[in-house]
Subunit: 231 residues, 2 copies
């Protein structure tokens, strides 16, 4: 392959366009920036459209210019989006979590702590946006997310709810458990709370912040569930 030296190259254009939600939806593709993510994609056997390595396939300045993450990057790959089915003894459902960094971090946490995928309900950020992919640190390839409504999920829903009486250490957990986490301010909507088998809170200081952030709350709850539901 000859070195790409023109900013009008089709592959560079594709990467640039994939920064937009609509283009990711239209094509079913996404871009991942950085050598560590490109390696994670390889390890996971992701369906690869192409990979551009700076200085090998493309002039480094041209690759930097199509980076959506600001700082320079040594490699960018374009991949087909993958989606899992909900399932597993412990999984995570997100509802209205609009921050892509939180969605990506939750995907990483679930990969570390669950045997099921992250299930994205209404109002969640696109897990294949550049920020979410970056925050997932490659877990997006190893454990692709699922999409579903809470009511359609198999297993008992455990709703994280700051107003719940019991703490996550107090309630009974029988697998399969789906930990449900809502938006930081609004929390979970009524329909998810109604569908849930139990609601629990993570105890925090009274003079502390209103809540933990969504990804942190999810991680704590998944850790507790994992600890209390031995394999």
């Amino acid at each position: 392959m000859t070195m790409i030296t023109s900013p009008d190259n089709e592959k560079l254009k594709t990467i640039r366009k994939l920064a937009r939600t609509r283009e990711r939806e239209r094509t079913g593709l996404f871009a991942a920036e950085g050598e560590d993510l490109v390696e994670a994609a390889e390890r996971a056997g992701a369906e690869t459209e192409f990979v551009l390595v700076a200085g090998e396939d493309v002039e480094p300045e041209l690759l930097d210019r199509v980076s959506s993450l600001g700082s320079g990057t040594r490699a960018i790959g374009v991949y087909r989006q993958a989606w899992s089915e909900p399932g597993g003894d412990i999984s995570l459902y997100l509802h209205g979590v609009g921050d892509p960094g939180n969605v990506g971090t939750a995907i990483r946490a679930a990969h570390a702590l669950c045997d099921g995928p992250v299930v994205l309900g209404p109002g969640c950020a696109d897990p294949y946006s550049p920020k979410a992919v970056r925050a997932s640190m490659g877990s997006i390839f190893a454990r692709p997310p699922a999409r579903a409504e809470a009511g359609d999920l198999p297993g008992s829903l455990l709703a994280l709810d700051g107003a719940a009486e019991q703490t996550i250490e107090q309630i009974e957990l029988e697998p399969p458990v789906v930990v449900c986490v809502g938006a930081e301010r609004e929390g979970l909507p009524a329909e998810v709370l109604h569908a849930a088998a139990a609601a629990a809170r993570i105890p925090i200081n009274e003079d502390g912040p209103d809540s933990l952030n969504a990804a942190m709350a999810a991680t704590v709850a998944l850790h507790v569930a994992r600890h209390r539901i031995p394999e």
Copy 2:
């Protein structure tokens, strides 16, 4: 006060300069963007240099132009940096955590779960950088961080170490406990591991990611410590 209509206004210049680490170090000031953070500063009684509200004190476009967080903002305040002394029955020590988002998130988690501050060791991101302040969601005002080396901290150091034999659920915890978290790849340096009373890991899937991110790991460990050291 008359409305600021010139981009050369001294206050706007101050805000712009405070995006730079060196300027924050030189002046001991920092800027916080957004109405929620300005309110958090008020609630905490932060030492305030000035606050600019869009449409009241300054033309909205001019305020947007000095924002370091990209999107538009309705208010920016400039405050004096505050620093706490290490202490408390449960606190958090970060070593080499270079990502400002992680530092800010850890400050929020500690505010929710600890009675002591976050202690920043060598190599940590500036907690008063725009990204860290934003990620702290106001907790930077309510619970200012401390600076110290691990060896100088009062209490038993509990080192989070992915290679440790025992899990955080298995070790004994006697307050005061300082949970110590290192950089995501390097982990804690030898001198902190040596100074620690115990080392423990958070159990994660074998086929999962190499680790949790630093802020997530800290949050899980603080939750466990808080649960096992009743007030």
